[in-house]
Every structure is written in structure tokens, then in C-alpha cells.
């Protein structure tokens, strides 16, 4: 497996993100696997932005922690990242800005002079730098020029040509001055077509595939790009996308849409979800399907808006006053995000409950590639399953909350002539009318609770196991976005120790008899979570009576690193 890391850094607001994404798309189109990660402050201008892309000829889901090619658009980039440089690293910089003190190979590119000679703007420094990078990595400008054409198509041929010449200048400078340093690490591979997307985009695509017709949100980092992506697509997808006045309106608009018969979803982060919680409880008692997307960031309160954490699991699992069922799913990569999103809409309709997808900044905003055929197969094979949703009824009066052995009552889509009913937030009779009868109360509480048993029988997914569980000496236990780094570490440890990884996606509720046999063996279990309190561990302790003596808990706003897992394993 050949893997390298390319990283570009510079002042916020000057196009780092666009350039990084272009690099990710170029390597992906050349047939490589990639994973990228952005670091940015909660500012529009003036802070430091960095964009790191891990490139490999094999599947990759995290950063190895070292940098092989560092592009410094300013001195700060070098200062902040010099300690991560690998032994044979290259540094692309402009000596008119600063001169790095390092053992790494220095590749000077006169950004300033080129900009000046071509009368370019600051933002085009990126284009020069990317052109130079591609030359140094041994590929050409073909795909980059295609991306430039795509980006500026509407602005006309002159603008395209103008931008292309910056890439060409950067490229030519390397060919002319650093020919002997060129690394042949981007030779095209024969791979099938790939798509590059973030977790938020994967959720957006999954929502479209699942026939979600209403998405309502209020912007909140790191979930906002779901709103902007779906809004950008709305003319094509014909999804109604509403940016409402606050999160309480968000969820109640979506509940209105869902009650009226369209698949609906909302998206937010922890703080916004906190505002929605009373309405989650309404969805619970009134049995209104809803998909809720939560992209976590470090809390409490405003916390660290542009960084990552898995600190909202227990809050989410227990969200809502009163007792009612809900399902919480946690995808670990882009395939799982698209797939579980489509599944979430089915589960919401089948069980007539809120289904929550847990993401975090790390998964939501990192790009990774996914085979195009995975997506086209899903589009072809996905079946919209609306469970007991009905479009007509012969029962008079129609009993919206009729008691049933599986806990699920036929749900009539409103508008059918001759019928009517209410989705009541009060406890109700089977016909939906308010009641305070002890007997009716027990009937409805039990009916709603029975859905979980049905879910365990029909739809709960036992966690995936990566590696040979029977032979494994070390077993990692984790959930959601930690999947990428754990799979990468397993490969690195392969020659030294046998490991297995139990990856939970269906994190709540947990089917005891399916999970316990995985966690009570005579193995060295290590719980890995991106939070301080080991929240999933607590959930396992509470529901299954299982505890962990070894944990890796990270809560500094950064994702769990390969090295800290390796260090932990090596302790014994």
C-alpha cells in the first residue's frame, strides 16, 4: 500500500477549501482512494485554514499524522505544521514570503512574482500552488483544467483561460527548476469511477434517494452544508427546502409535512437539537415519522463550533420528555452515510417514530470517495418502504392508534374523503381523541413500546466485525466516525498483533442478546470514543451490564489519531 499526505495551508478566506477539494477530486479521478480533513477557525477571514488530503492506492479513512508534501501559502502554515513533517517531506513555499528552517526538501515557487506578472488576485496563489503540486507529484494538468472549466463555465472562455494560466505557470516552474525532485506518485490507476463527497453531502444524496420531499433547517455548523446542498439541488430534485426562523419551527414544520404525508427531515447540531427536543417527544406520542440529522461538535453550549466530538450521544438517545421509542443510527463512512440515510427514512415510516442519524464535524465535513457503482446500485435497488402507511380505509371511524401486536397502527395519509383524525400530543384513545383513562393510557404506552421488540426482530443490525474475531487478541469497540481511523490502524498492526473491530451503526436501542456474545469473550477490549465520558460505553453498561477497563477517549476537538490507538495497543 502506497500512501502519502498532501497539505495546503494559508489565511482563511483565500480559497484553501476550493483548492483542497480540487486536489481531492483530481486524485480520485486518477483512480486513487482519498480522505481529506479540514481545519478552520469559526471565523470568515483572518484565521488559519488547512486542508489535508491523504492519498492511497488502498482504502483510507484517516490521517497517518505526518505530512509528505506541505504547501505553505504563508509562514504560519509552516510554523503550525512543521512538527508533523515526515522524514522525506517536500515544502512548497515562496522565498519572497519567508524561508523555512527545516531538513525537508525546499521547493521554492515565486507565487508573488507570478501573481504580479499575470495581474492575478491573492486567491489565485492557490491555483499556482496546485499547478506546482501536480507537477511535483508527477501528473499533468488535464483534470485540473477540466475542473477550472467546470467552475468558470458560466463566466466564459476568457475567465477560464485567465485562471488556467496560473496553474500552467506553477506547473512549468517545477518542470523547469525542480525536474530531479519530481515524484512519480500519481500515475493513473485503472479503477472504476468514483465520487467525492462529504458526510453531509452523503446524507443529502441519501435523502434524495429515499424520496425525502421536505427538508427544514436553521444553519448551524457543522450541519449547515446539508441545508445549502439540498437548497442548491431543489430545482432539480423538487424537494421543498425551508430555512425556518428557529429550530423549533424547523422540526414543527417538518412534522406538519410528515403528518400530511411527505417524507420529511431536519438537520442541526447539538444546540439546535436541544431546541427541538420537546417536539421529538410530540413525534413520539403522535407517532409521526421523522428523520433527524445531527452533526456533533464539541459542547457544552456554543463549545468549539468548527471542531469535532461525539459528545451528544447520550443526550440524543434520551432526548424527549416521557417514554417513547426512537432509533439512533451512526454511520462510519460515506457508504454507510448514504445507505443508513435511505434506511432511516424507511424505519421512520415503518415504526412511525423519530429516527436520528448521528454524524460529527469530522465525518460531516471530510471528503472521501465512494464507488459510483455503489451509489447507482443503491438508486436502482432501493425500495421505499412505508410500512403500514395507507391511502384508504374502510374502517369507520378510522382508528389512527389502533392497538396491534407489533405496536404499529395503520397510518392514513390525510386528505382521504370520508375520513379524518388527529395526531394528538395528549394521551389518546385509539381514535386519537384525548383521554385520561388509566386503561387507555396503559394500552397506548405498551403499544408504542412494543415497536422496539418488532424492531429487534426485523430491523436491528448486529454490529459489523472487521478482522477475525475468533483469533483476535485485541478487540476495538467503537461507533460512528471512528471507523476510518480504526480500520487504518488494523492494517498497520497486522504484522504485530491480531485485532478485530466491532463497529456499531445501530447504536440505540441495543438488542441485548445480539450484542452481549460479542463483548463477553476472553479478549482485550478497547473502547474508543471521541468524547470525555465514554458515552457509548455507559450505554452498554446501562443496557447490557458490560464495562470496559481500557478506553481511548479524545475530547480536544480533534479526531482520534492512528498513533494514540497504536500506542495504547503497544502498552502491554
Amino acid at each position: 500500500m502506497k500512501t502519502f499526505v498532501w497539505k495546503i495551508g494559508g489565511e482563511a478566506g483565500f480559497g484553501i477549501m476550493t483548492t483542497g477539494l480540487a486536489f481531492s477530486k483530481i486524485v480520485s479521478r486518477l483512480g486513487y482512494q482519498m480522505f481529506d480533513y479540514i481545519e478552520y477557525p469559526s471565523l470568515i477571514r483572518g484565521g488559519h485554514n488547512a486542508y489535508e488530503v491523504v492519498v492511497s492506492d488502498d482504502r483510507v479513512g484517516s490521517s497517518p499524522g505526518s505530512i509528505d508534501f506541505l504547501v505553505c501559502l504563508n509562514k504560519q502554515t509552516f510554523e503550525l505544521h512543521k512538527d508533523q513533517l515526515s522524514d522525506n517531506a517536500f515544502i512548497i513555499y515562496d522565498k519572497d514570503e519567508f524561508i523555512p528552517e527545516t531538513k525537508s526538501t525546499l521547493i521554492h515557487v515565486p507565487f508573488k512574482k507570478i501573481l504580479f506578472s499575470l495581474k492575478g488576485q491573492q486567491i489565485m496563489k492557490n491555483t499556482i500552488a496546485l499547478g506546482a503540486s501536480l507537477a511535483l507529484l508527477g501528473t499533468d494538468l488535464k483534470i485540473f483544467n477540466e475542473l477550472i472549466s467546470q467552475q468558470f463555465r458560466r463566466k466564459g472562455e476568457d475567465v477560464i483561460k485567465f485562471n488556467e494560466q496560473f496553474a500552467e505557470k506553477g506547473y512549468a516552474y517545477i518542470i523547469e527548476h525542480y525536474k530531479e525532485n519530481i515524484q512519480q506518485v500519481l500515475l493513473p490507476l485503472n479503477s472504476e469511477s468514483q465520487l467525492v463527497m462529504t458526510g453531509n453531502e452523503a446524507f443529502s444524496l441519501g435523502a434524495v434517494i429515499a424520496d425525502c420531499r421536505m427538508y427544514v433547517a436553521y444553519p448551524m455548523t457543522p450541519s449547515s452544508s446539508v441545508l445549502t446542498t439540498l437548497a442548491a439541488w431543489q430545482k432539480t430534485s423538487r424537494m421543498v427546502v425551508r430555512h425556518a426562523e428557529d429550530e423549533i419551527s424547523v422540526i414543527n414544520t417538518a412534522l406538519g409535512g410528515s403528518f400530511a404525508g411527505v417524507r420529511s427531515a431536519v438537520g442541526t447540531s447539538g444546540g439546535g437539537f436541544a431546541l427541538m427536543v420537546e417536539s421529538v417527544s410530540y413525534a413520539g406520542i403522535a407517532e409521526i415519522p421523522l428523520v433527524i440529522f445531527i452533526s456533533q461538535r464539541p459542547g457544552p453550549a456554543t463549545g468549539m463550533p468548527t471542531w469535532t466530538e461525539q459528545g451528544d450521544l447520550l443526550f440524543t438517545v434520551f432526548a424527549g420528555h416521557g417514554e417513547f421509542p426512537k432509533i439512533v443510527l451512526a454511520p462510519g463512512d460515506m457508504e454507510e452515510m448514504v445507505g443508513l440515510t435511505t434506511e432511516a427514512f424507511n424505519l421512520a415510516d415503518i415504526y412511525q417514530i423519530p429516527v436520528i442519524i448521528m454524524s460529527d464535524m469530522y465525518l460531516s465535513e471530510s471528503h472521501s470517495n465512494i464507488k459510483e457503482s455503489f451509489v447507482t446500485d443503491l438508486i436502482k435497488n432501493y425500495q421505499v418502504n412505508r410500512g403500514k402507511t395507507i391511502t384508504q380505509t374502510n374502517t369507520t371511524p378510522y382508528l389512527r392508534y389502533s392497538d396491534s401486536s407489533d405496536g404499529i397502527s395503520p397510518r392514513l395519509i390525510p386528505g382521504v374523503a370520508g375520513s379524518f383524525y388527529q395526531a394528538n400530543s395528549y394521551e389518546h384513545f385509539e381514535d386519537g381523541h384525548t383521554t385520561e383513562s388509566a386503561e387507555e393510557r396503559i394500552k397506548q404506552v405498551d403499544k408504542r413500546a412494543r415497536k422496539i421488540r418488532t424492531y429487534f426482530n426485523n430491523d436491528f443490525k448486529t454490529p459489523m466485525i472487521y478482522g477475525n474475531f475468533n483469533e483476535a487478541e485485541v478487540v476495538f469497540v467503537s461507533w460512528g466516525s471512528n471507523k476510518g481511523v480504526i480500520l487504518d490502524v488494523q492494517k498497520k498492526l497486522r504484522s504485530r498483533v491480531k485485532t478485530a473491530y466491532i463497529h456499531f451503526t445501530h447504536v440505540y436501542p441495543l438488542k441485548k442478546e445480539a450484542v452481549i456474545p460479542l463483548l463477553n469473550q476472553d479478549k482485550r477490549y478497547v473502547l474508543i470514543e471521541n468524547n470525555a465520558e465514554g458515552q457509548f460505553g455507559k450505554l452498554l453498561q446501562m443496557g447490557l451490564g458490560i464495562s470496559f477497563s481500557e478506553t481511548i477517549l479524545r475530547y480536544d476537538g480533534r479526531a482520534v489519531s492512528q498513533q494514540e490507538i497504536i500506542n495504547k495497543v503497544n502498552l502491554k
Binding site: 467525492v196 423549533i248 412534522l255 417536539s279 403522535a286
Partner: protein, 284 residues
């Protein structure tokens, strides 16, 4: 044709003499006159004595959370704009807990009719003062008299973009029925604020009080003049309550401006999206 009986659900639990009885009758008669049926009607009920109409009025209804009926109503309208949508709410519900939703729904000109039971107290929680209580009003939560000025809901609606603003009195159910009917017929956001005595907890704003202080707008009132309408609305601070349509203008409703909705097919009934060749290049 539907009848009042078709809309009639369970026996109401309101106090004898409560203004809600008259409002309930007025709503039903307006619905019958408009040729609507329980199956062609969405109602979002709030929580309070007003919201308790959920069990007495037949419709496809959401009896949701306190303050949140307006977003429920908006969601229902967007999903199926073929249906008529009402929000039946109280003063605390709509102007207190849900005040933010109210002002944004006005500016959105969502095609919903908001019917507010304005009795200036919280009846269901036994008589605390509401946002529309007069300054100085003494209640269990404000034993020394409420310090805030009362909300002026009509001016609030007018200045935030509502395209139909009316006021009625629960003691005059015929006029009230006419107001509700006109509000439902209006395309865009319509508000009917109903002055309503709470016979149990509000001993100030009684039927006798309102008989003395209300007046009907006559034919000389210019319904298209915003400033005149605001002037009439401000009468609340002089205990002069205008009854009738204060303001009405034609503007395109929210759902009519959503390009992905067409006039013939609702969001619920349209075909599933299939043209992925339009979306996947975004990821390449």
C-alpha cells in the same frame, strides 16, 4: 355538502358561558358555508382551552405543542397545498410561546388562517396573565399588576406583512363567522383575533366590558391602507376595539412562490425524483 353535524366531534368541556362555544359554532358554520368537509381541512391546534377544540371539531388535525401550531400548519400546507389550513390557537400560545413563529409566518404570507382566542388570561392553567392582558392587570402570576404593556397583535401582524387582518368578538357569532369565512377565502396569511371573555378567570374583560368598548368598522374604512389599519389597531390602548377587516391586500402566497410546487399536483402526490444524471456530476 357537509353539515355542521359533520364537523361536530365530542361534547366540549369548556366552562358554561365561555366564549369558546361561540367561536366553535362560528368556525363550523363558516366551514359549512365554504363547502368544506372534515376531509378537506387541516387544522393545527395549540395547547390551551382553545386547543381543546381538537376533540370537538372534526378535521385532519394536529393537536401539537403549546406555541407551535403555526409551523405545523405551514408544514401541512407545503406538503399538500390543495387542503385548507387553519391554526386554532390562544393568545398565550400564539403571541407568547409562539410569538417568533407568528411574526415570521406573517412575513412569509403563508396561506393559512390563524384564529386566535384572545381572552387575555391563561385559562387552562387557572388564570395567569397573558401577553394581551392590560397593563396593571392583577392575576395569580402578577398579583401586583402586570408591568408590561399588552401586546398589540393586530399591529404586529400588519407591520410584519400579514395580508389579511381582522378582529371579531365572541359575543357576536354571526359577525365572527363572516370574519372567519373571509379569512379562509383570503389567499395568503390571514389573522382573526377574537376578543373573548373568560368567564371563570377574567373578571375585567367581560361580555359587558366588550359590549361597551367594541365598535364595527363601517364602509368608509379603507382596507388597503396600512396606516389607517395600524391606527385602528392601536385603539387597544384606549380600550377602543375595532371589529371587522382592518386590512386586506392581494399578494402571492408563500407556496405559490416555491418553483418546485405546481398548482395542479401537491408535493405529496408528485412523482418520485429519478433524474440522477443531473446530480451525480456534482461529485466528480
Amino acid at each position: 355538502m357537509s353539515t355542521v353535524q359533520d364537523f361536530t366531534g365530542y361534547q366540549p368541556t369548556w366552562c358554561p358561558g365561555c366564549g369558546d362555544w361561540g367561536i366553535g359554532i362560528a368556525i363550523k358554520s363558516a366551514l359549512v358555508q365554504l363547502g368544506l368537509s372534515p376531509s378537506s381541512l387541516f387544522v393545527a391546534f395549540g395547547i390551551g382551552c382553545s386547543g381543546n377544540m381538537n376533540d370537538f371539531l372534526n378535521a385532519y388535525a394536529m393537536h401539537g405543542l403549546h406555541g407551535r401550531s403555526i409551523p405545523n400548519a405551514i408544514g401541512m400546507k407545503l406538503a399538500n397545498h390543495k387542503m385548507t389550513v387553519l391554526a386554532v390557537v390562544g393568545d398565550g400560545d400564539c403571541y407568547g410561546e409562539g410569538g417568533n413563529h407568528f411574526l415570521h409566518a406573517c412575513r412569509g404570507n403563508h396561506d393559512i388562517t390563524v384564529i386566535v382566542h384572545d381572552n387575555r388570561v391563561y385559562g387552562l392553567t387557572t388564570g395567569q396573565s397573558a401577553p394581551t392582558a392590560q397593563k396593571g392587570y392583577k392575576s395569580k402570576s402578577t398579583p401586583l399588576g402586570i408591568i408590561e404593556e399588552s401586546v398589540d397583535p393586530l399591529s404586529l401582524a400588519l407591520t410584519q406583512g400579514a395580508t389579511f387582518v381582522a378582529q371579531a368578538f365572541a359575543g357576536d357569532t354571526i359577525h365572527l363567522g363572516q370574519m372567519i369565512k373571509q379569512a379562509i377565502e383570503h389567499k395568503g396569511f390571514s389573522l382573526v383575533n377574537i376578543l373573548q371573555p373568560c368567564v371563570t378567570f377574567n373578571k375585567i374583560n367581560t361580555y359587558q366590558y366588550y359590549m361597551k368598548h367594541v365598535y364595527k368598522l363601517d364602509d368608509t374604512h379603507d382596507k388597503t391602507n396600512m396606516l389607517t389599519a395600524v391606527n385602528k389597531a392601536r385603539g387597544v390602548y384606549e380600550e377602543k376595539y375595532a371589529l371587522g377587516v382592518l386590512y386586506q391586500v392581494e399578494k402571492t402566497a408563500f407556496h405559490e412562490q416555491i418553483v418546485q410546487l405546481d398548482s395542479t399536483t401537491s408535493l405529496k402526490d408528485r412523482d418520485k425524483f429519478t433524474d440522477y444524471n443531473q446530480l451525480l456530476p456534482y461529485f466528480k
